[in-house]
Symmetry: C2
Subunit: 187 residues, 2 copies
Amino acid sequence: MKIDTVLLGLIKIHPRISGYQLKTIINESTGYFFQAHLSQIYPRLKQLAEDGRLVFEVVPQTGKPDQKLYTITNEGVETLNGWLREPYKFKKQRGCFDDYVLKFLFMGHLNNEDILRYLDSGIAYFSEELHTLKTDNLGVETQFAESASKGDSESSVRLWRGVMDHLFEETELRIEWLKKTRDTYRV
Amino acid sequence: MKIDTVLLGLIKIHPRISGYQLKTIINESTGYFFQAHLSQIYPRLKQLAEDGRLVFEVVPQTGKPDQKLYTITNEGVETLNGWLREPYKFKKQRGCFDDYVLKFLFMGHLNNEDILRYLDSGIAYFSEELHTLKTDNLGVETQFAESASKGDSESSVRLWRGVMDHLFEETELRIEWLKKTRDTYRV
DNA sequence: CTGCACATGTAATACGTTACATGATTCC
DNA sequence: GGAATCATGTAACGTATTACATGTGCAG
């Protein structure tokens, strides 16, 4: 589950953290890639603690509920690393790159080989995808050709073409970035 | 609801279409931005027809369930246009740009002024966001500074910085594309 | 004196995914 | 013989969002 990975990953980086603080950090950092509500965070932290992947100290507060400061256990780190090391399952969807990058954000403590393997898988996948995307691009016209409402079709085709062209450029930029990043990890 | 907009939008472009065909088209075109399962599409089409936004003809088939070919009604077009014309509510999240572009894809039949207004709102928002993103960027170090696990911190900061730098470039590319597109619609 | 930040949580609802149900035809 | 495509749908499950519940302290 995505939320579990994010929670374990963030608690690994920020030990002794409360659910409330986690929410703030998620908003400010990870938030751009992933967001979660407190009503979702609290039950997950509880469960992860029950499963032995987190422990918490209770800090008494005045006028508000006691704080629970969570820290990751060795078991938790093992679970996290297991997730980080298993190959990313790419999907033919836009959000895929963001998820891929999100996972990457938590790899700080892994060794160079693991990171290189991860980056290489991304370069391979997105290069392939760019190729299929450019090939299948003819499909846009095919689709609109069958359409009965010809008037709309012309302007729609123009619009879709423009979007597609931007997708190519964005994908190219992403691949370049991955390659550049890989070079900085080269052994 | 997102799925309703996509269904109405696609049926407007492709009149007399079945749920099954819609699924195929969603996979091949919109699919990159938005995907839906048949189990989600069928009930929505049923509901949209009950609400008078769609009508359907039943085409008898042999050996398989009868086809239902849906077409959008005037009421449906009005609903769709209402959605398309109401200002896009930008969220401070990555997926936001994709949703924004998805909506743009269905604007083929709107007039230049509507499209220009939409593009301008995007240019304004993403330019502003790029600025805050670059400013808040200092936050990355602040966050890691408080961290107790110093060893991980260094490599994490390096990694996060790299990701942030890419985000800047990607956002810049997006703004450029929006501006370029706007120019082609300029009156 | 209204609203926000702090701090935890549960409950209800909406939405998305997987599995189930049926069955002919075609391609490997 | 098995998998994929066509064609519709329901049921169960998992995840995400909104609303509810409680209560202090501080700033505008």
